[in-house]
């Protein structure tokens, strides 16, 4: 049990630190420091533009997707080195937001199932931020039950023709490529008739429409496919094996453990340390302290859980479903913290402007955004099912659609 760097790790940290000091976009430092809880506010710049510039610089210096093999644009770094890099990258890591789905999910899937040509064509550009990727899994009728998806891909010669609709696609509006799961055989049970592809988002027939969200922002999209042609060379894995390919994608999502999971605790601690109430500072109030302490130990527990996972990873163990706890705990916590911070603000808590008394409305934004944290990437309920079934070994739910051909499953409005 040792938190200190080994001599090699210390040397790596030193190299990373020096490189960052020499190359990071310091002009953005102040704004990035103020941006919290996943909301990046840059007055004069678009996050995609400055993100691409930083990613390109990193790629040139050998710091992009650094756990990937060198031939695909990475550095061949160890899991620990990746964590050290993230620690050193600090606030500049916020600039990687547009690339996280590509780096965390799409890239690894291409790496595992793509042809050598596809890997050499796609991965270095993904790593360098030249091309942004999105993930096209969820559909209007297939959220938690994603294997019930309807988007069809039909084989015509050595091509596939895709028709259907995806939803909740983050970043589709600025993505160059997408990872797509589609139904290739409706006559077999739902998990067995799926196939994975990747496609050029500028292909004819692809239409991206932004969704106005409950928090008033637009980060997600609907993506419509009308006779979109995908060459068979862009299929990932065998026909009908899309479900197991998608599990690899999700497992890789779990590998990005240790990366930046917002909990709201540092913001809340600072807020309570400065908030003057009738009887003194909020942080001196026993009720506030009690809640703050409970949140703080959840947050530190998550941090050290990810350290344990990284240690296991560096010994060659595969990250398991137990890492699902991160989002489950932090999603609920964000929502609770936001609501309690507003409670402490009293009547003024209703104000969402940049007023002094509500700390620029950051908790109000957090309140409005936090429901999505409990839904996107697996709802709280699905995550609990995963923990119960895959970690604790409890039986799966009784499924009425099991072993039923997909096109015989009762549904609404097909």
């Amino acid at each position: 049990m040792n938190f200190d760097d080994t001599p090699q790790e210390a040397a790596f940290r030193e190299t990373a630190r020096k490189w960052i000091a020499a190359n990071a976009p310091k002009e953005l430092e102040a704004e990035l420091s103020k941006s919290s809880l996943g909301r990046i506010r840059l007055a004069k710049h678009d996050i995609v533009d400055v993100g691409k510039a930083w990613q390109k610089k990193k790629a040139e210096g050998g710091w992009a997707c650094l756990h990937w093999p060198k031939e695909y644009g990475g550095r061949g770094a160890t899991p620990i080195e990746r964590v050290i890099w993230q620690q050193e990258e600090g606030i500049y890591g916020k600039l990687t937001q547009p690339f996280q789905i590509g780096e965390g999910m799409c890239g690894p899937t291409v790496m595992a199932f793509g042809s050598e040509d596809a890997k050499r064509r796609c991965l270095p550009k993904l790593a360098a931020g030249e091309e942004i990727w999105c993930q096209l899994f969820s559909e209007p009728s297939a959220g938690s039950d994603v294997a019930g998806l309807r988007t069809r891909a039909e084989k015509k010669g050595d091509q596939w023709v895709v028709n259907g609709q995806k939803i909740w696609t983050s970043g589709a509006h600025y993505s160059d490529y997408g990872l797509l799961i589609a139904r290739t055989d409706p006559n077999v049970p739902k998990h067995k008739g799926l196939t994975m592809f990747f496609l050029d988002m500028k292909s004819p027939g692809v239409e991206v429409r932004p969704i106005k969200q409950a928090n008033g922002m637009q980060e997600f999209n609907e993506v419509y496919f009308t006779d979109v042609v995908i060459p068979d060379s862009q299929r990932l894995g065998a026909v009908g094996e899309g479900w197991s390919v998608s599990l690899t994608t999700l497992m890789n999502e779990r590998m990005s453990i240790g990366s930046r999971l917002a909990t709201g605790v540092p913001e809340m601690f600072e807020f309570c340390s400065n908030l003057m109430m009738e009887d003194g500072l909020a942080i001196d109030d026993p009720a506030v302290r009690s809640k703050l302490a409970s949140w703080a130990v959840k947050s530190s527990g998550l941090k050290y859980t990810s350290y344990r996972a990284i240690s296991a990873l560096s010994k060659g163990d595969r990250p398991g479903p137990e890492n699902s706890i991160g989002k489950l705990v932090s999603g609920m916590m964000l929502q609770d913290i936001a609501s309690y911070a507003m409670d402490l603000q009293g009547a003024a808590g209703v104000l969402t402007g940049a007023d002094e008394e509500t700390v620029q409305g950051q908790f109000q934004q957090m309140l409005l955004s936090s429901p999505s944290m409990r839904i996107a990437g697996g709802t709280d309920e699905i995550l609990r099912n995963i923990i119960a079934e895959r970690v604790l070994g409890l039986p799966g739910d009784i499924r009425v659609d099991k072993d039923v051909p997909y096109n015989k499953i009762p549904t609404k409005g097909r």
């Binding site: 049990m1 040792n2 938190f3 200190d4 760097d5 790790e9 620990i80 964590v83 601690f269 340390s273 942080i283 026993p286 302290r289 009690s290 703050l292 302490a293 409970s294 703080a296 130990v297 959840k298 530190s300 527990g301 998550l302 941090k303 050290y304 859980t305 350290y307 344990r308 990284i310 240690s311 296991a312 560096s314 010994k315 137990e322 706890i325 489950l328 705990v329 309920e381 995550l383 609990r384 099912n385 923990i387 119960a388 079934e389 970690v391 604790l392 070994g393 409890l394 039986p395 799966g396 739910d397 009784i398």
Partner: protein, 375 residues
Amino acid sequence: MNFDFSDDQKQLRDQARKFLTEKCSPKAVRIVLDGKAPYDKKLWKGLAEMGFLGVAIPEDFGGAGAGHLELCVIAEEMGRANAPVPFSSTVYLAAEALLIAGSDAQKKKWLPAIASGEAIGTLALFEGKGNPSPKNVKLTAANGVLNGVKRPVADGAVADFAVVAARTGTSGRDSDISLFLVDLKAGGVEVKSLTNLDPTRGQAEIAFKDCKAEPLGAAGEGWSILTQVLDRAAVLCAFEQVGGSDRALEMGRDYALDRIAFGRQIGSFQAVKHMLADMYVSATLARSNSYYGAWALSTNAAELPEAAAAARISATQAFQHCAKNNIQVHGGMGFTWEFDCHMYYRRANAMALGLGSLTYWEDQLIDRMRKKNAA
């Protein structure tokens, strides 16, 4: 960075688990629970023979000289087995106080006796209601004798010696408190057993009447030593709580797989699954916080005060949560004396108070985090 126990330490954990599975079955625990023995003497002797009592005591003082990480893995197994022995009082509190503040002669007298199982020690801190605070120490020390009453004292009725917190000044500062070492078999004390939530670990009242005592550590340093002892014990107790949480979760899981209702395993109902998943989450957070505490304890890191408080809070919450919901998963059977669920429920709730309540440690954590942020 390597945030895990070593292979040797894991082997020690397996060894402890095997030993305790054999020697500390629920049936054995029930002998103490039912009041037929004050503690499991045979198990205590066995723990000494295995070298577990002195695992963190240096070889010069009759211990194994292994270290605190080794003690953490043993603590986890003690918690998992719900062991009915005065382990925490003797090993986490009395021995740690001696290691921190004892003179060479004091260490020579008591540490080898702890390691060999001949001496049971405890900490006499509380005087009725209230959390650890210099203000709550009323027992006085003057001219080498103590006068006052301590209650509750964990394992006080079976202890051979006690580390006693006493008032030696009236300035209102922490330096009013000094620690003393008392041989409880040498007279000057009246010991009375008290009924308590968890009969598998006794509680007592000790009345000191002109009781001879020798100083432990420098005069006026008592509170500062005590704070260190409580922090160290908080980490070690957290491992017991983690072991207990895991066992309660396993019991609930096993029952959910075994029990059939409405024509199916109750573990297939989401209401039950989600309850068990939430137990897993709190047990995992507690384990991770405790690992951090173990690292800080074993390296005597500057982070220990904060790490200890976090481990304490997280592990207390987890054990209470898991023990409570284990009963819920079991339904009516969980509320019988016959099923073991209540033993963990009792232990979880008693442990939540032993070193100071959850509220106390939450307060400590916030103070310590502020101190760090200010630095």
